[in-house]
């Protein structure tokens, strides 16, 4: 049971249960920052807004009124402390980092902390969204404060039980240490602590006293993963929920015109077939049988929403939508460059999936969800139930990269469950995931730098992107609705994200970065680093070319123009550790780039083997990263390694071709995400010492690596890449539509 005076008390008539746990819901000091009514209201009209207020700050501001309710801690009689975390773990290692914060504050062995993922908690409003590299930034204060308050309460309980003063007590290894040195385990105090009345706020430890936070720790869930015991959504057994797949249209957003299911219905194992808004759902005893029956359906389709569009038309639309430069290249020297980036599938290993059990009066949903509150609100509306009748469980996801901000599998599973009147275990096929799932929007970039007398005078970047869908809002229905408004809705949101994430880290005089979006009715979404991978990646290519044009070495040039000593320190680190400028055989080259976002910065130096320009391989990478205060350096290194692999993939080979309203790629044999043979045999990652508060880390690794790889390719081959991925043929026979 989890109750004390600070937690909602069971309604009258509810069974009275024994108080066994100390649970903390309210712990943070009162914070008095107002919630912005709409996100764009907080964006100052300055040339480089992200330096003043980044997207993470916006998310933290939006979450501030509910920050005190964020961390729910339970101290069990077995001494295990459980944190119910209102964020999504999808591989980024936040449960481990959060467990470290709890263990640190409570002087508890890390192994005695459990982290569960909270169900959708609508009372958290805009504070249950996992995105914007924001988890550790947004929970660093609240979790430590909650744990400090729990510790204070345990100390008070020990003092009362043993008739001593709190001031004579300390904590160590999951126990309160009495003045005579005897330990009293937390588990023996939790019941008494839960009965105490009063407010037990306490200041968290100063960072200078941290013994665990800041040290490299392994993942708390690693053993379950390497033994196959870890349970993802589809590994759950929900009574009656049977394997379900959907036959989808031949083009994006097509719909069912007619269906002949006679053959399919007679196939072995088939349990139910029904039409839903997204296609034809098939339920069977096994997924194999469901997929066989799906293939046997005879379906005719209504057209989709982009049937007439292929890459060529989309690219032309983007070029036409690119806003003009302000500075004419008349009296100064200048450098103009243009770049194109293809669509990219998120392609998490675990395809879009969800379990739904919809009844007449209630519904229960299980899925990997990064915005579960708006998922709950939207699902309730879609199936005609009050929100309070819908329970949404957040499952740990098999990858996301932005994908699970959207809850399309969860809503679809709920619709199928309602239509077929049975619980369902819905799995998207890989082909559906790539063709009908979401993707990073394609973009076109136009850049101009002007310079004179050895100085960069102006720097302009015009980004035209297919609309990136932000209709998950800030994770709840109000901002999601704002993002859905026909006039300015999603575009305002997109501008806000663009302006609060992308900034030029160099003193390049007058800098203007402008985004224009082309709304196409297809499925897009934020993809790890949102606009930055393309926008900053393109800028870092331009920086190399600008340096060359101004007769400077790429490193010397960046050192000269970077804004802060902190930025130069990470650059210098990779230059030294990566031996910048060393002689390399023909066809090999080094490349370097820098990126700064979410109060963090990183530099990346790669070496590429491009002896065969059509078959390049990044053979070595050296990365330096400063996130202000690393919580778990081992986890941070993992994030940087993941960002590097994303950059290798999307810069060199991985993208989607759109052909007459549908991506051609349908599996990993066609969408060329990197494999072992495409990745470096030597990777060195250097975490800079802690200097301040935690910055963002989850998306940080991509943009600098994109720039470094592109620059290395240019130096190795003599050809500056303008279109990404660089190697992008249709080298496969597409699956039938």
């Amino acid at each position: 049971m989890t109750c004390d005076n600070e937690v909602p008390v069971p309604a009258a008539g509810a069974p009275v249960r024994r108080r066994r746990f100390l649970t903390f819901l309210v712990a943070a000091p009162v914070l008095t920052v107002a919630v912005p009514g709409t996100a764009e209201a907080v964006i100052p009209t300055l040339p480089q807004p992200a330096e003043i207020l980044d997207l993470g700050d916006v998310l933290i501001l939006a979450g501030t009124p509910t920050a005190g309710a964020l961390a729910v801690l339970s101290v069990g009689e077995d001494g295990v402390v459980t944190l119910d975390l209102p964020r999504a773990e999808v591989g980024q290692g936040i449960t481990t980092a959060c467990a470290m914060l709890v263990a640190e504050e409570l002087d508890l062995p890390l192994g005695q902390v459990r982290v569960t993922l909270a169900d959708a908690r609508p009372e958290l409003l805009m504070n249950q969204l996992t995105g914007g590299s924001n988890t550790m930034r947004s929970v660093y204060g609240p979790i430590r404060q909650a744990a400090a308050a729990a510790r204070a309460r345990l100390l008070a309980a020990a003092a009362e039980q043993h008739g001593v003063e709190v001031s004579g007590l300390s904590t160590r290894d999951g126990a309160v240490i009495l003045p005579d040195g005897r330990p009293v385990l937390y588990g023996l105090l939790t019941s008494a602590a839960a009965q105490l009345t009063g407010v037990f706020a306490a200041q968290p430890k100063p960072a200078s006293e941290h013994r665990l936070v800041g040290t490299p720790q392994s993942r708390i869930d690693a053993r379950a993963m390497v033994t196959g015991q870890f349970r993802y959504t589809l590994d759950q057994d929900v009574p009656g929920a049977m394997p379900t797949v959907v036959r989808r249209p031949p083009t994006i957003n097509g719909s069912v015109k007619s269906v002949d299911s006679a053959v399919a219905r007679a196939m072995p194992g088939v349990l139910a077939i029904g039409v839903v808004p997204t296609g034809v759902a098939v339920v069977a005893e096994t997924f194999g049988q469901a997929m066989a029956a799906r293939d046997a359906l005879k379906v005719t389709w209504n057209p989709g929403t982009i049937d007439a569009l292929s890459d060529k038309e989309i690219r032309a639309k983007l070029k036409a939508a690119t806003l003009p430069f302000v500075v004419p290249p008349l009296l100064t020297q200048h450098l103009d460059m243009e770049f194109d980036f293809a669509f990219v599938s998120h392609a998490p290993m675990e395809t879009n999936s969800a379990i739904a059990d919809v009844r007449d009066d209630r519904a229960e949903i299980w899925a990997g969800l990064k915005s579960p509150i708006v998922a709950r609100q939207t699902i309730a509306a879609a199936i005609g139930l009050p929100e309070s009748a819908v329970t949404v469980h957040v499952m740990q996801g098999g990858g996301s990269f932005g994908r699970r901000l959207f809850f399309d599998a969860a809503i679809e599973a709920a619709q199928i469950s309602k239509a077929l009147r049975r619980p369902v275990k819905l799995m998207w096929s890989r082909t559906d995931d790539m063709r009908h799932g979401r993707a990073r929007a394609a973009s076109h970039h136009k850049l101009r730098a002007t310079f004179a007398l050895g100085n960069v005078l102006t720097f302009e970047h015009r980004v035209a992107s297919v609309e990136t869908d932000f209709r998950h809002g800030l994770g709840e229905v109000l901002t999601a609705t704002a993002a859905s408004l026909p006039v300015a809705g999603n575009l305002s949101f997109a501008q806000t994200v663009f302006l609060t994430t992308c900034k030029v880290p160099y003193n390049f005089g007058v800098v203007t970065s402008l985004l224009n979006e082309v709304p196409l009715r297809m499925h897009t979404g934020s993809w790890r680093s949102v606009y930055s991978a393309n926008t900053r990646g393109a800028e870092e290519v331009l920086v190399d070319q600008l340096a060359a044009k101004m007769g400077k070495d790429p490193v010397a040039f960046r050192r000269e123009y970077l804004k802060t000593a902190r930025q130069r320190a990470v650059l210098n680190k990779v230059v030294a550790e990566g031996d910048w400028g060393r002689a390399m055989p023909k066809g090999f080259a080094q490349g370097i780039a820098f990126h700064d976002e979410y109060k963090s910065c990183t530099a990346c130096l790669v070496e590429i083997d491009a002896r065969d320009p059509q078959n390049p391989r990044v053979v070595k990478a050296v990365i330096a990263v400063d996130v202000g205060r690393p919580i778990n350096p081992r986890g941070l290194e993992a994030q940087m390694l993941g960002g590097l692999t994303d950059a290798i993939s999307t810069t060199l080979r991985a993208g989607l071709h759109i052909d007459k309203g549908l991506p051609l790629e349908g599996s990993y044999s066609q969408f060329h995400y990197a494999r072992q043979k495409d990745t470096p045999k030597d990777v060195r990652i250097f975490v800079m010492p802690a200097t301040g508060e935690p910055g963002g880390a989850g998306e940080l690794g991509v943009p600098a690596a994109v720039g470094a790889i592109a620059n290395a390719y240019a130096r190795a081959t003599g050809v500056v890449p303008r279109s990404f991925p660089i190697i992008f043929p249709v080298d496969f026979e597409p699956f039938p539509r």
Binding site: Q92, R231, E285, I648
Partner: protein
Amino acid sequence: MPTYTFVVNGKPVTVDAPADLALLWVLRDKLGVRGPKFGCGIGVCRACTSHLNGAEIQPCVTPVAECAGQEVTTIEGLASGEDLHPVQEAWLEQDVAQCGYCQPGQIMAAAALLRTKKEISDEDVDRIANVCRCGTYFRIRQAIKSAAAKM
């Protein structure tokens, strides 16, 4: 429907299934063995990688009929009780897993490789074609080398 008897992780099992039903769905949906993961269904992502008589297979493209009378080992059967296989130990030592979804397949591929080869070169590692969408490849490489050194 035909019946097939084979061994899964040391225990005999008998299932009713169409002959062409992929082993992956027999394991996951009929036997509740959920360690092998679906990632593609056509044997190209290799997330489901397991062993048939000790050799690597992709259960998503292995018809159940081919397993009759054979020994199937999934990630759940790799350790000896609480004693992990050296490859699993190496995975913990290198803290390889991020989302973890592909890792059962990665580990089974590495374990199959190390059964046949004691000295592991970078080229051997490069031939493991399992997709890791989190991009943990470098740590996988280190873990395989570490396991090889200890075995």
